[in-house]
């Protein structure tokens, strides 16, 4: 079996970085839930959410690979472009100072205050804690599921590297969470979003092109070219936006 490194490398990196961003945001809320309402409910809710997400990937991923590749590439590529370019646009605007950066410490403080106002804990399993941790895990995790399936369904043998990238991100964020026991404010979230936006936009453009039957110069090796192209466009956009906003 030949491994197409032009696909596998960016797939793994895109899934890892995008999942890291989402898991960091989920960790902030799970930490707030655990701190205010207790760890049993927080971990149970987050664990249940992760199981549901894993089931979604294992059901939807292989199902998509049974559909002919052309239509899948067109649909998934279009969704990936909408998703990736939305992230990239937001990261450009944040880097230019047009919109504020995401602040994990502020999100933690807000969540803690909100949970503190919800009254006393239930005896036994705390339903508020389970529901809050489950909800945030699902909300952030749905994006991970989409990214894993989208970057994994565009070519043969890509689902596994996408799943491995997301799992590596989950393990890394959980270990960091256990280690520092507070929101991961030092993770450069906007830089990650910037890079992920570039990668997902490049994948999306490539697969839409494949889906509509375009010929890419140098075939699969156009993907690094597209990554460089979107990165250049985004790097040009940041100072222009900063100047316009001033």
């Amino acid at each position: 079996m030949s491994i197409e490194w032009a696909h596998v490398g960016p797939t793994l990196v895109a899934a890892f970085l995008a999942s890291t961003v989402e898991f960091v945001e989920a960790l902030t809320v799970v930490l707030a839930v655990g701190t205010v309402r207790g760890w049993r409910g927080a971990l149970a809710g987050a664990g249940a959410g992760l199981l549901v997400l894993l089931a979604m990937i294992l059901i939807l991923g292989p199902a998509l690979t049974r559909i002919p590749l052309g239509p899948v590439q067109l649909v998934v590529g279009t969704l990936l472009l909408l998703f990736g370019m939305r992230w990239l646009r937001k990261a450009i605007l944040r880097a230019a100072g047009v919109i504020p950066l995401h602040d994990e410490a502020a999100a933690f403080a807000k969540e803690t205050a909100s949970l503190s106002g919800l009254g006393t804990r239930d005896r036994g399993w705390d339903r508020v804690a389970i529901a809050a941790a489950f909800k945030i895990t699902m909300l952030e995790g749905i994006e991970v599921v989409f990214i894993v399936i989208a970057v994994g369904a565009g070519g043969q043998g890509l689902l596994l590297p996408a799943i491995l990238g997301a799992l590596a991100a989950l393990i890394a964020v959980v270990l960091l969470g256990i280690l520092v026991h507070k929101p991961l404010t030092r993770i450069p979230e906007n830089q990650l979003k910037f890079i992920v936006g570039v990668l997902l936009s490049a994948f999306g453009a490539f697969w839409v092109g494949e889906g509509i039957g375009l010929t890419w110069p140098r075939g699969d090796w156009s993907i690094p070219g597209l990554i460089a192209g979107f990165l250049a466009a985004a790097l040009i956009a940041v100072p222009v936006c900063r100047k316009r906003a001033a």
């Binding site: 279009t78 969704l79 472009l81 909408l82 998703f83 370019m85 939305r86 990239l88 646009r89 937001k90 450009i92 605007l93 230019a96 047009v98 909300l139 749905i142 994006e143 989409f146 936009s201 453009a205 839409v208 092109g209 509509i212 039957g213 375009l214 010929t215 890419w216 110069p217 156009s222 597209l226 192209g229 979107f230 466009a233 985004a234 040009i236 956009a237 222009v240 936006c241 900063r242 316009r244 906003a245």
Partner: protein
């Protein structure tokens, strides 16, 4: 039915932040799919045209958002 509305809103929000931006991307994909092949461009150029349009849409949308008060 509140939960269904929440799920639909979340799903929509995954892909659409600025409506004009999303519509411009979809229109450009439609153009490259339906119109570009009829223009008789060299095959290798079509992918570059697809990328160029997307890059311009990204730049225009980000700059337009920066101007907003």
């Amino acid at each position: 039915m509140g939960w269904l509305g929440t799920i639909l809103r979340e799903a929509y929000g995954l892909f659409v932040d600025d409506g004009l931006f999303a519509v411009a991307i979809l229109l450009w994909l439609g153009v490259t799919w339906q119109i570009l092949p009829r223009l008789g461009l060299p095959p290798d150029l079509a992918g570059i045209v697809l990328f160029g349009g997307l890059a311009l849409i990204l730049l225009e949308s980000a700059v337009r958002r920066s101007r907003r008060p």
